[in-house]
Amino acid sequence: MSDVFLFLSAGLASAVEFVEALTIVLAVGLTRQWRSTLIGVAAAAAALGVGVAIFGAALVAFVPLDALRLVVGGFLLVFGLQWVRKAVLRAAGRKALHDEDAIFARERDEAAQHAVVAQGMDWYAFTVSFKGVFLEGAEVAFIVVTFGTNAKNIPLAALGSLVAAVLVIGAGVLLHKPLAAVPENTLKFAVGLMLTTFGAFWAGEGLGVSWPGEDLAILGLLAVFVVAAWLAVWAVRPRPSIRPTPTRLRPEAGD
């Protein structure tokens, strides 16, 4: 049961971030120079890999499990509730949907404004692709390490992330354009609810809460959060009689 959730949570969270990173990499690579862009991607992946190895080993070796569960559970709750809040607002029509095509066009236009370097290292392409992959990947790395450590199964969390990477990058290579058709808000909704569920469960365990049914309580928590989110979408949907509030925001990379 926990293994399935672990694999799905790590995989879904990774897929969302990989879609966003892919958009940036494609925009820079297609507009400027693929070699420097891909070196930037490789450098970011290496930096994340080193960070995960050091951070993961240190967590396992030095931090007591209850303290780890409390701190990680707390952060997962904050991440999860942020994701659910944005997903509810988007589903209710209060916030613009994440538009990978629009983000791709913006990144491509920005990249085209700088002089293209035909030969040698294009530092603009390197920097933008490194930054995009590193920032989007940092959240994935955090989730893989903390989920894996808490569930005592880092390899399974890493496998979920790896499968997501293969699927997203494979689709990107085949299509050669951003994955605008991916139902990103639905994915973010699901990931936010999973992060919130695991966060509540682990933070509670770290504080000494005795959950009824032990691991089965995860299913109960998830069910309650799903129903609450569904009710929240209904509750915040603009009504015809109510003047719409000016809270629509422009979609941004990483948002």
């Binding site: 509730l81 919130t196 933070a203 504080l207 000494g208 959950w211 509750a235």
Partner: protein, 69 residues
């Protein structure tokens, strides 16, 4: 100085996000849960986590759609 600011902003965005009330609310919920574990019962404290998380999310959504307070 600019690097220090950028470093602070990165970690603030990463850990707190764009709605600080959620992070503040979770800290309060976890403190109340700890108090419930020691003062009431370990089983009842699970209800504090659940109710607290739902209240924090409801408050954050209420603020997002223009709620005052």
């Amino acid at each position: 100085m600019r690097y220090a600011e950028a470093f602070f902003h990165f970690w603030y965005d990463f850990l707190i996000g764009d709605e600080w009330r959620i992070a503040a609310g979770i800290v309060i919920v976890l403190l109340l849960t700890a108090a419930a574990v020691h003062g009431v019962s370990a089983r009842a404290a699970g209800g504090v986590v659940l109710a607290g998380v739902l209240l924090v999310e409801a408050y954050a959504l209420w603020k997002a759609v223009g709620g005052k307070g």
